[in-house]
Subunit: 322 residues, 2 copies
DNA sequence: CTGTTAGCGCCTTCAA
DNA sequence: TTGAAGGCGCTAACAG
């Protein structure tokens, strides 16, 4: 009965008594509309996808929840999947989400260099994508991320302000533009302070805490030691902290420490950790909103937007002035 | 052309040359099969759902990833959503997943008491559900969880072994069966050690760290103070640790501490935290496997299974013998 | 082995 | 305001 559809979608007026009867029947039969059939008919799934590298890294669940909330507010649901920072897996997931006919995809690119063509192809095919957190080179796509350069310079300037001069930076993979920009922020901050760049204090790491730990232990064994360490992201920061513990350096007495990205419960670390906090929920929410705007006003401009959200410095004991 | 379908699904043999031609066309046209239509036809979505209270709590992403991996291995994908421990939201999500025609649901029940009928109704309607982590009362359903009683008694026995006698327990909401069982494990451990139960040392909390903090601060102000605190889950443990910090008690010198559930990076806390670790990945994976077995052998037994996985004690400094 | 066909359940015309 | 009918893209069954 087509009338049932009218009642459910409310698209066509239906008389009160009939409507009541329909709802009654729905309840009695415990009827649940089949979204699959509806989607096939309307070619609208009201579903978005989000691909993150690994949702066991605390930053990503926050992004997802921000996006989920924004999507729900507009009647969409969100499918979250993990790429493990693997390019092939990312390709498969994009393809899967596309086959599932999500109406748009929030993509935190895999750290393994993603062939620009992978994204460009999807875009050309009309799949709507918003890049979150990690910004691709050379691809014209909507992006939402933290102000990367600022995130680093805010942290480094804080370390300078409390009196440190030999500040080492530990980065993630330089294949990520964000990481390059954070390194740039470090250099700018030093420059503005009139300090020379010491290449020996630039420690290029990756996103695996164990690797970063090993790197730092090795670097810290050399002298002269830096008097502060700044890390450009959470997993890297975790690795560096473990290295400090392993080599027996106390912070802030022996060496100061600050990192971009909150560690879970970092107020409970002893000493508590100075952190440049990314507005993760907001990043996810903003990205979802941009995506939904594109979906709902297909007429929108062709200009792709690039939103950069401000990070915030949370000073802890690890960079306390002595 | 039905033949295309044969080529893609591989269900019917197709001659080599024709098959090559089809694949070529698929590539050229950048064809992506429409899973929506396929699902409508076959009434199989090859998708599972998982509802967790809040995936920003570190334990849950691990469960999800365990389930995701198990599902992927068998060609299924997984939709993860958050209930915020809210009964109404959980109802909506169950209904949504059902409408989306997921083939089964992994459910970590909301802490807000879930009307047994909510789950029972779904079950009757033929929706396959496996309860994960939190076990419902009175509902006959497949369940996978940690050995709750053991999780508590292992931790408490450890505290006893290092010499503590006045051990306080801080629990989550007693509306959760798991929490009642963990409390039971505490009592059993004391009993086996021949110690009497002191009701003043049973601190009934909830899953909000702030509330637990306040509770603990108040309890700790009284004397005599316990000489150890045992917490039955992560968020509760977090709250208790903050209370210790706030009232200036050092661990293990002033008071010993242990908790069920890993805190993120708890090796970096100073002192490092003694933890009863739950096999989260395994819990998720096992639950997904049980669910998929039910789906794939619809003929399976009617007996519902209850799997309890063993937790593991990880001793840190917070309970060190002085 | 290959091509044709009938729905899956729903929503959207369109006619009554 | 109501009901009937077509078709979304796919696959399974069947005919060639």
């Amino acid at each position: 009965m087509g009338t049932v559809s009218h009642v459910i979608t409310g698209s066509v007026p239906v008389s009160e008594p009939l409507r009541r009867k329909v709802w009654a029947a729905i309840r009695v039969l415990d009827y649940h509309p089949n979204h699959v059939a509806r989607s096939l008919k309307t070619s609208k799934t009201r579903t978005l996808g989000i691909i993150v590298p690994d949702m066991t890294i605390p930053y990503f669940p926050k992004v997802i929840r921000g996006a989920e909330a924004a999507a729900r507010k507009r009647g969409y649901s969100l499918i979250a999947v993990n790429s493990d920072d693997d390019g092939d897996r990312q390709r498969d997931l994009l393809s899967l989400l596309r086959s599932q006919r999500v109406e748009g995809i929030l993509l935190v690119m895999a750290a393994a260099p993603t062939p620009a063509s992978q994204i460009a192809k999807m875009l050309e095919a009309g799949v709507r994508i918003v890049c979150v957190d990690r910004i691709p080179d050379r691809v014209d796509v909507d992006c939402v991320s933290v102000e990367d350069t600022d995130a680093a310079s805010i942290g480094v300037e804080h370390l300078l302000a409390v009196g440190h001069r030999r500040i080492a930076i530990v980065t993630g993979p330089q294949s990520l533009k964000n990481e390059r920009q954070r390194l740039l922020g470090y250099k700018l901050a030093l420059d503005r302070a009139g300090l020379p760049l010491d290449e020996d204090l630039v420690w290029l790491g990756n996103l695996r805490p164990e690797d970063v730990s090993a790197l730092c232990r090795e670097k810290l064994a050399r002298s002269p030691r830096p008097d502060a360490i700044f890390c450009t992201n959470g997993p890297t920061g975790l690795g560096a902290l473990r290295a400090l513990r392993d080599v027996g350096l106390k912070t802030p007495e022996d060496i100061a420490f600050a990192t971009v990205d909150e560690l879970m419960a970092d107020d409970l670390f002893y000493p508590s950790i100075t952190t440049v906090v990314q507005p993760a929920l907001d990043i996810g929410g903003t990205a979802a909103d941009i995506l939904l705007n594109r979906i709902e006003n297909a007429a929108g401009s062709d200009e792709s937007v690039m939103v950069r959200l401000r990070p915030e410095l949370k000073v802890g004991d690890s960079s306390r002035r002595l």
